[in-house]
Symmetry: C2
Subunit: 347 residues, 2 copies
Amino acid sequence: MSDLYERAPERGPGIRLHLNENTAGCSAAVLEAMRAVTAPEAAAYPEYGATYRSCAVWLGIRDDQLLLTNGLDEGIYTAAVAWLQRNANGEPAEAVVVEPAYALFAASAAVTGARVVHVGPRPDFDFPLEETLAAITPVTRVVFVASPANPSGLLVPAAAIRAVADRLPARAVLFLDEAYVEFASTSFLSDLRSHPNVVLGRTFAKAFGLAAVRAGYLVAAAPLIEQLRSVVLPFSVNVFALAAIRCAVQDAAYVSWYVAQVAESRRRIYAACERLGCAYWTSEANFVLVRVGAGAAALVETLAARGIYVRDRSSMAGCAGCIRITAGLVEHTEACIAALEDTCARA
Amino acid sequence: MSDLYERAPERGPGIRLHLNENTAGCSAAVLEAMRAVTAPEAAAYPEYGATYRSCAVWLGIRDDQLLLTNGLDEGIYTAAVAWLQRNANGEPAEAVVVEPAYALFAASAAVTGARVVHVGPRPDFDFPLEETLAAITPVTRVVFVASPANPSGLLVPAAAIRAVADRLPARAVLFLDEAYVEFASTSFLSDLRSHPNVVLGRTFAKAFGLAAVRAGYLVAAAPLIEQLRSVVLPFSVNVFALAAIRCAVQDAAYVSWYVAQVAESRRRIYAACERLGCAYWTSEANFVLVRVGAGAAALVETLAARGIYVRDRSSMAGCAGCIRITAGLVEHTEACIAALEDTCARA
């Protein structure tokens, strides 16, 4: 991907709290389902019908409102290919990205030659509704918003999402990234019916622990899904992802357990921040953004040397001096907090 | 994908000779390598370094001449995104497709708004060199050629590939699809050094039996790989594909054994065609194109009712009255031949 997407350096063994992964791994049931894939199944082009039906039933939608993707990344990319290419006059489309945001929004828009309009953050990441509305023009084709947002962890109020959707020109869509929705108190899913220009992006990477398996999905009104399907590869989702999805949607107990771990980890990170005198934001995702100050980059490397990987986010809009810590298993959180407090005590 | 790509209907249990899959499945060693993926590995964004190094060493190239892709399909699609989008004046690029060909060449070009110039077949699928050269214009950006070709199974002479590459305008590439190269007597790989505008497409789907795992790759001069890398998703290859690739490149004995099965199956299909009085083409791939006459579609359905799936190709350019039979394990080939001979005897 372009320079807009900065790949994290490959890390050795250690506690991975830098990529918002599930630090417990996927569930035993899902692992078993993937290991049940046979040699003949590995060799045959996968059939998608059964997995679509399972996933659609689980979500309470119809099959034609669903697109399974090779990770949510492919969902974002496919939206760019479908809606952000130059028109026949060579005019670029416009994409609005509410910053700070996942780098792949702007990177995907850049791939298709779109003009990216960045909406900067307000203090404390309060959702910049008026600024977002003001950024919409007649050639806006996609507005990218994440809720919970990354890296702040904050929810975008449903009223703000509705207001953006209502302001869009015909043929434009609001791409609402809900990658972290399982850790949050609310979703926009039930509002989709009344907002047929919203595409919801979801993933099994985070709460279900399947980042490496590449299993995401989009939910939207059938006409939008049809437009996306017309530009996506026919076999982009692999057979292990299919097996994992069919099992995962039956596996609610695992996600409930993991979400509780994340909630407890967030509380412990907040408490540590208060002891250390660091600002933080109350998160509805599996990570917490913490303002550690000017030494953010050095702190990240010091922790890495101790086998604790967190992410320097200090160069993102509104995030000066900030690191982002994944909140996963409580034991991992405790190890991170101990290293953080020890490092700060020595500083 | 667009209407240009016709997905084969989902089939029930039976002998799958319709999608040029490996009918033996992947090797036991590769299956074991995939089953060794752990729950934490499933949950972490995959690291690609080790797999790139293994694959590059196996091919005798440098890492920067290689792009691993989510199946070869993603390689084709990525070439279209990189090189076939409209320019800043809105002018579409041109893609040349030598027909009959894999439908994804034209479908991918259509996704990015390119104008597709189809070069029709000569009698007996003799490579249409002069017609291909004549189709190249100053706005040609990609020429798609497959060798062995699908569905004919014929190799394109290396001299013809060189002639096409030499005629291309600056900034244009020849995309040479070698999906079936392991079954063939030759490859263009060693010519890449002298033809830095050729991109080779390869896959682990066919000879290695990994169609459902989605593991393909492109080989080209480093500057072309860099252009492709700038538009491809950072995590499009899943962890099972990575494990499979690292094992597969050490697994030469399996491929040798399977290639011998395919060669014997091709010979038996030829012999059956001669007994039945059907024309066929001598194939360097894992399939044989057979001219069965006006009843091709009906024959495919009759065989399907007996649990033998072959592909009707009669609507493709130059393929009137033709079906395509995958040549895999000899026992599967024998079952197909028996059903074919029985059906023809009843007709």
